[in-house]
C-alpha cells in the first residue's frame, strides 16, 4: 500500500499510540476483521491462522458456536445452525421469496422474521451479533486492547431497515460503530489507494447473498459514488442452489430432508469452487436415506444452468449506468469483489459487457475488509499527515412519504449524496383536520404497496383550519451511515413530531427487554467494566480531539476561554484515573459544552480556508 506515515519528531513529541480501530466485513457466507498496522491494512486471522470466519452460528446443546465449529454442525443439526443470516436482516417473512429454501422454523413478526432455535427464539440481529462478537474478541486478542471503534460494511443496496438492523447487531456485540460503509465503496478505497487510480470505475460486487454495482469517480483523492444499484437477494448462494436443483433432477430424487439439503448444498458449493480451475467436477454424496449420488458436473452445464443468474446481475449494471448518465465506454476499469466473482462465467460476462478484462489484483474475499480498516483507521483519528482522501457516498433507494391514494411522494431521490437534509411542505385535505399520519417509505415504485414501509408516525394537535391552510413541513435527514430520521412541523403553530426510523422492523418492547437481559447474561461479569471502558475510550477521544484542536487553532481563543477549556480538560484527566463512570461522563459532557463555540469557530476557519483557496483558483481561471 502506498500509505506512508511520516513521523515528525518535533511536531509530535509525545506521539500517542494509535487508537485501535477495525474494519469488519459482515458477509453472507464469510466474515472478516481487518486493521491498519504501521500504515498497512491487514486481515486479522484467528488463532489457527485462518483469515475467514464462516458466517455460521450453531445453537448447540452446550452453548453457542460460531464459525468453523458451527460449520461442523451444519449437516447434523440444520435447524439450529444458522447460515446466510444476512439475507434475513431487516426482512419480514413476506419479503423472503426464498423462505422455503431455509430449513429453519421461522416465526413471522412485524418487520423482521425470527427463528426458533434450541436456545429459544432468536432474531437475525441477535444471530449477526454472535458473529460480530466473535470478530471483536478475535481483534481485541490480536491487538491487545479494547477497540475504539469499528467500521462495519453493508451491501450498498441495503435499505434503511437492513442498515439499522446491522448497526443494532454491532451495538449488541459491544462494538462502537464509527460508520456503516457500503461494501463496493470499501473495495474502491482499498483498490484506489493501492493503485493511485484516477477515473471512473465500476465495482462489481457479487457476495454470498447480495449483489452490488457501484460507479465511482476517483479524482485527486476524492472517491465520489455516482450511482449504485443491486439486488439484496442474489449471490453465490443462488449458484449453489442451482447446482443443488440440477443434482436432484439429474439423480431423479424428490424432496429431501433438511439435513440432506445441507449436505447437498455443501457439495454443490465444493463443485462450484472446483469449476473455477477445472473443466468438470465430480459431485458425490450419500444421503441419510442410503441413496447415493455419483454425478459429474461440467463447466459447460454449470454455465448453462446459471445463465439467468449471470444476466440478472447485468440489469443493475445497466440501471446504474443510466442513473449516472454514463455510456459503458466511459468506464476506465472494473473492480471485482466477492468470492463469487471467481466463477469463470462471471468474469467472462463482465469482460464482455464492459469490453475489458476486469481487475482482480486484490483478493476479492478480503478487499472489502481492508477498505473498511483503512476508513476505520482514519475515522478513529489516526489519519497520517499526507493522508487526505475524502469519501462521498450515496443512498441506494429513494425515500418518500405516502400521499393520498396510496401513492409515494419522493422526498430524497436515489443516488443522492449523503449526508443530506430535504424538506417538503404538505397540507391537510379535510376541513378541521387536527392530525396527520406520516408513512415513510423507501423504494422507486409509484404505489406505496410496492415500496418498503419504514415507519409510521403521527403529527397531532394541528389547530382546526380549512382544508389546505395548514403548512406541514416534513424534513428527512440522512446521516453519513445512510440512516434516516424524519421530523414534521406545522409551520403556523410550531407543533412538532419526530422519529428516528429506528423501530422500522417492529421490535416490540418485550423483545428489547429480553435482548437486554440476554446480552447482560452473556457478559454478566464484565458488563460494568465494559461500560466504564467505553466511557474511558470516549473520554480519551475527546481529550485527544481537544488537544489537537488547541494545537492547530488555539489562537482563536482569548485567555479566559482558554482557561475554561483547560479547567474542563483537567477535570476529565483527573476523573479518568478513577473508576466513577458517571463522574467521568459528566466531565466529558462539560468539556463538550465549553468547547462547542470553539468547535464552531474552528469549522468556520476550515470553510474560509477552503474557499480562499478556491477564489484564487477562480481568479486564475477568469
Amino acid at each position: 500500500m502506498a500509505l506512508l506515515q511520516i513521523a515528525e519528531p518535533d511536531a509530535a513529541p509525545a506521539a500517542r499510540p494509535p487508537r485501535l480501530a477495525v474494519g469488519i466485513d459482515l458477509g453472507t457466507t464469510n466474515s472478516l476483521v481487518a486493521t491498519v498496522r504501521h500504515g498497512i491494512p491487514v486481515v486479522l486471522p484467528d488463532a489457527e491462522g485462518r483469515p475467514l470466519l464462516p458466517s455460521i452460528v450453531h445453537f448447540g446443546a452446550h452453548g453457542v458456536g460460531v464459525g468453523y465449529p458451527a460449520q461442523d454442525a451444519l449437516v447434523a443439526d440444520p435447524q439450529n445452525t444458522i447460515v446466510s443470516v444476512k439475507r434475513l436482516m431487516g426482512r419480514g417473512l413476506a419479503d423472503l421469496s426464498d423462505a422455503r429454501r431455509f430449513p429453519y422454523r421461522f416465526i413471522d413478526a412485524p418487520g423482521m422474521v425470527k427463528i426458533e432455535t434450541r436456545a429459544g427464539v432468536r432474531t437475525p440481529v441477535e444471530v449477526s451479533a454472535e458473529i460480530l462478537r466473535s470478530l471483536r474478541v478475535r481483534a481485541e486478542a490480536s491487538l491487545g486492547g479494547a477497540l475504539a471503534g469499528a467500521v462495519v460494511t453493508v451491501p450498498a443496496y441495503f435499505d434503511d431497515a437492513q442498515r439499522q438492523a446491522t448497526k443494532d447487531a454491532a451495538g449488541q456485540a459491544g462494538l462502537n460503530v464509527l460508520r456503516l460503509l457500503n461494501e463496493p465503496t470499501a473495495a474502491a478505497i482499498a483498490y484506489g489507494l493501492d493503485n493511485a487510480s484516477e477515473g471512473i470505475y465500476a465495482v462489481y460486487d457479487l457476495g454470498g447473498g447480495t449483489f452490488d454495482l457501484s460507479l465511482l469517480k476517483l479524482s485527486r483523492g476524492v472517491f465520489e459514488v455516482l450511482a449504485t444499484a443491486g439486488d439484496t437477494a442474489l449471490g453465490g448462494d443462488d449458484f449453489d442452489h442451482r447446482i443443488y436443483c440440477w443434482a436432484l433432477e439429474t439423480a431423479g430424487l424428490g424432496p429431501v430432508s433438511p439435513s440432506d439439503t445441507r449436505l447437498l448444498l455443501l457439495k454443490a458449493r465444493e463443485a462450484k469452487e472446483n469449476l473455477t480451475a477445472h473443466a468438470s467436477t465430480p459431485l458425490v454424496a450419500t444421503l441419510s436415506t442410503g441413496e447415493r449420488l455419483d454425478l459429474t458436473l461440467t463447466a459447460a452445464t454449470f454455465t448453462t444452468i446459471t445463465a439467468t443468474l449471470v444476466s440478472k446481475t447485468l440489469q443493475p449494471v445497466r440501471k446504474a449506468l443510466r442513473d449516472a448518465k454514463l455510456a459503458v465506454e466511459a468506464i476506465d476499469g472494473v473492480v471485482m469483489v466477492g468470492g463469487a466473482t471467481r466463477m469463470p462465467q462471471i468474469q467472462k460476462a463482465v469482460a464482455q459487457f464492459f469490453g475489458m478484462p476486469p481487475l482482480t489484483n486484490l483478493d476479492p474475499d478480503q478487499v472489502v475488509a481492508l477498505g473498511a480498516a483503512i476508513q476505520a483507521n482514519v475515522l478513529a483519528g489516526n489519519r497520517a499527515e499526507d493522508e487526505d482522501w475524502l469519501l462521498l457516498d450515496v443512498i441506494p433507494l429513494s425515500l418518500g412519504l405516502e400521499t393520498m391514494g396510496g401513492l409515494t411522494e419522493k422526498i430524497v431521490p436515489r443516488n443522492a449524496t449523503i449526508p443530506i437534509t430535504k424538506a417538503q411542505e404538505f397540507t391537510t385535505f379535510k376541513d378541521g383536520q387536527t392530525a396527520m399520519a406520516m408513512h415513510v417509505v423507501q423504494g422507486e415504485r409509484e404505489r406505496v404497496s410496492d415500496c418498503r414501509s419504514l415507519a409510521r408516525f403521527e403529527l397531532r394537535g394541528i389547530p382546526p383550519m380549512v382544508a389546505g391552510a395548514a403548512r406541514i413541513r416534513v424534513t428527512f435527514q440522512i446521516d453519513a451511515d445512510g440512516l434516516l430520521a424524519v421530523s414534521a412541523r406545522e409551520q403556523t403553530t410550531g407543533i412538532e413530531a419526530a422519529i428516528t426510523v429506528k423501530p422500522s422492523y417492529g421490535l416490540a418492547d418485550t423483545d428489547i427487554a429480553r435482548m437486554l437481559e440476554d446480552s447482560q447474561a452473556h457478559a454478566a461479569a464484565d458488563m460494568a467494566v465494559r461500560a466504564l471502558t467505553e466511557t474511558q475510550v470516549e473520554a480519551q477521544r475527546i481529550l485527544g480531539a481537544t488537544r489537537s484542536a488547541l494545537d492547530a487553532d488555539g489562537d482563536l481563543l482569548d485567555a479566559p476561554q482558554k482557561a475554561e477549556i483547560d479547567a474542563a480538560v483537567s477535570t476529565v484527566r483527573e476523573r479518568l484515573a478513577g473508576t466513577d463512570r458517571h463522574a467521568l461522563q459528566a466531565a466529558v459532557a462539560a468539556l463538550n459544552r465549553v468547547t462547542a463555540d470553539f468547535a464552531a469557530r474552528r469549522m468556520d476557519r476550515g470553510v474560509a480556508g477552503a474557499l480562499t483557496g478556491r477564489r484564487v483558483d477562480l481568479l486564475a481561471r477568469d
Binding site: 440489469q315 437534509t421 440522512i478 446521516d479 483558483d617
Partner: protein, 175 residues
C-alpha cells in the same frame, strides 16, 4: 461551520450566473466537503459531529441544486421570490400542452404496441427537445427575463418526467 444564510452561489464562491464552469463548482464542492464532512469529525466531540453533519448536508443540498441545469434555474428564480412549480401557477403555453399531449399519446401507442423499439427513438426526441429548451432557458436567465424563464422551467420539468417514464419503460423491456 458554514453560513446557512448564504445563498448557494456565495457558499461555493461562485458568481450568481446561470452559465458557469462546472469544473469550478466541482472543485469548490470538494474543497468545502473536505472542510466539513462528518468523516473529518468522526473522532471529535458530539457538538462538532452534529455541526459537521448539518454543514455537510447543506453543502450537498446546494451542490445538487446547482449541478442540475433545471434545478439551478429553479433555484435562481426562487432567489427572486418566484416558485416556478407552484400549484397555483398552472398556466402553460397552449402550444406546449399540445406537444405534451402528442408525446404522451405517442408513448402510449408505442407502449401498448407489440413493437416497442420506438421507445428509444421517442426518448431521443424528448432529450433533444430538452436540450434545445435548456439553451433557451439559459438565454432567458442571462437576459433576466424571469417570467419567460419560469415557463421554460415548467416545460422542462414536464419533459424530464416524460423522459423518466420512458426510461422506466425501456428498463422494464430490458428485463
Amino acid at each position: 461551520m458554514i453560513d446557512f444564510s448564504q445563498d448557494y452561489f456565495s457558499l461555493f464562491g461562485l458568481p450568481p450566473r446561470y452559465r458557469f464552469d462546472p469544473a469550478a463548482l466541482d472543485a469548490a464542492y470538494h474543497a468545502l466537503q473536505r472542510a466539513v464532512h462528518p468523516d473529518r469529525y468522526a473522532s471529535a466531540g458530539e457538538t462538532e459531529r452534529r455541526m459537521a453533519l448539518q454543514s455537510s448536508a447543506r453543502v450537498n443540498e446546494a451542490y445538487q441544486a446547482l449541478k442540475d441545469p433545471v434545478g439551478r434555474a429553479q433555484y435562481m428564480l426562487s432567489l427572486r421570490g418566484i416558485d416556478a412549480l407552484a400549484e397555483t401557477n398552472t398556466a402553460l403555453p397552449m402550444e406546449f400542452l399540445q406537444r405534451e399531449l402528442e408525446r404522451r399519446e405517442a408513448m402510449d401507442a408505442v407502449q401498448s404496441g407489440v413493437d416497442r423499439s420506438g421507445l428509444a427513438a421517442l426518448l431521443d426526441t424528448v432529450r433533444r427537445d430538452a436540450a434545445t429548451l435548456e439553451a433557451t432557458l439559459a438565454d432567458r436567465l442571462e437576459a433576466q427575463e424571469w417570467n419567460a424563464a419560469r415557463d421554460a422551467v415548467r416545460e422542462l420539468r414536464f419533459l424530464t418526467k416524460v423522459a423518466d417514464d420512458l426510461e422506466v419503460a425501456i428498463a422494464a423491456d430490458e428485463g
